[in-house]
Symmetry: C2
Subunit: 232 residues, 2 copies
DNA sequence: ACTCAAGATTGATCTTTATCAATGCATGCC
DNA sequence: GGCATGCATTGATAAAGATCAATCTTGAGT
């Protein structure tokens, strides 16, 4: 993590999507909360499962994975975070982080002290509600994952995933795509080889195009059909 | 759903584990909230996905499954609820229920009006926090499911599940077990036949015994090993 | 007690996915 | 430019799990 400086929330592009949305500038200035502004590189570890939970983060740029590592070394990616996402906030109610948080690409984050955040959310209902909302979203997401993993086959899971990824960049035709095959496999519950074959097959069918860390979805329609597991 | 009457929260066995734990009797009496006391039979539908969310429920006796039904008719069980569990509370923040809630066994529930519950949780931080806590638990559970489905094989998933089930009845050697093979399959992301074979195999190895709607775990130790996917 | 229906089991086979091994491809470093 | 190194691809084979079809069991209803 290269740089740390104080963040200027007042002029942050991201504020509207953050937990501080809904506060007016005066409220924002009187928060009495220091927000650290952090740069990170691909591969940076923001925290590890079991670490004492000191901070939550808002991702402003880049992508982060939340990973659970099993005793046998196998990894599962529990969430993939994009610009605007808040994470690490399980630490508001538990002593330790539950996952590893690892950056996938050069990015920028805001680091929020959890003690201050707790205090703040007791004082300001708007902030409390905003965090609660994030919690609900995380649960809905996670349930969605259970459905995907429990009921769909590899092809459909990958298609769903790609479409969801694309939805996080509505304005872009060419998407940033910093995931390795290993990451994809850990997210989809598949082997690296299987993911590789599926991606190759999707490319052969011209449903997508891939270049160094970038992805273009060509066949949204068809991918939707595959995601719904409709045969051919 | 056979009976509906007013519930007497004050003398409820369950109160200590409910969202009303921590309120003293005076507070409890001045809640101004009517709690309906409901009996249900196996198979009763408490609500369906898409239904307008009017009530949340606390399960006092019995077992309930929360089910997501896919467009192709396939079902996935998202949560299995036991005595003390609160469910349906996603309706506090969304208009409609996200799942089907279906009773698996004769049981008793408290039905809480969501509008009153919302009002109450704004007024009483203890209740708000208790509900928030349930939300966190649900997320942790769901993440645990993602790990199971994403990383473990059938045998291990079943073993984990059985151990978790047993943990919900710490004082019992012979557990209630109202799940069909179909239910197990829908929870574990497997086919009915596969589940049947695995259960047969576990019985052959004398890890468990099963009688009509009842289950006895004989080999906790060994099941733990299987759950961790340690070979033989 | 007899029958029926629903769920459970079992076996055979097919499909999907993992695993193992070899090779290819790019990128960064010297 | 040349060469390690890590990631990706591809193929061959094995294992896990699904599907299909046939029975078996059991409990509810008569």
């Amino acid at each position: 993590m290269s740089q740390t400086r104080l963040s200027d929330c007042l002029h942050c592009q991201m504020r509207g999507e953050s937990i501080f949305a809904g506060l007016d500038p005066v409220e924002l200035c009187t928060l009495g909360m220091e927000v650290q502004d952090i740069d990170c590189a691909a591969g940076d570890v923001l925290y590890r499962a079991g670490d004492q939970a000191r901070y939550a983060y808002t991702l402003r740029e880049g992508a982060v994975k939340l990973v659970k590592t099993l005793s046998n070394g196998q990894e599962v990616i529990l969430r993939l975070l994009h610009h605007g996402d808040l994470f690490g906030f399980e630490g508001m109610h538990e002593m330790e982080h539950r996952h590893d948080a690892i950056s996938l690409a050069p990015g920028k984050l805001c680091r929020l002290d959890l003690i201050e955040l707790r205090r703040l959310s007791e004082r300001l209902p708007k902030i409390r509600d905003a965090i609660f909302q994030r919690w609900q979203d995380a649960l809905r997401d996670s349930e969605e994952r259970v459905v995907e993993l429990g009921a769909k086959k590899a092809e459909a899971r990958l298609a769903t995933f790609l479409l969801h990824w694309a939805q996080r960049y509505p304005q872009l035709r060419i998407l940033p795509f910093p995931l390795t095959r290993q990451d994809l496999a850990a997210f989809l519950g598949l082997s690296v080889e299987h993911v590789s074959r599926l991606m190759a097959e999707f490319k052969r069918q011209e449903l997508l195009r891939e270049t160094r860390n970038q992805l273009e979805i060509l066949g949204t329609q068809r991918l939707q059909e595959i995601a719904e597991a409709k045969p051919d």
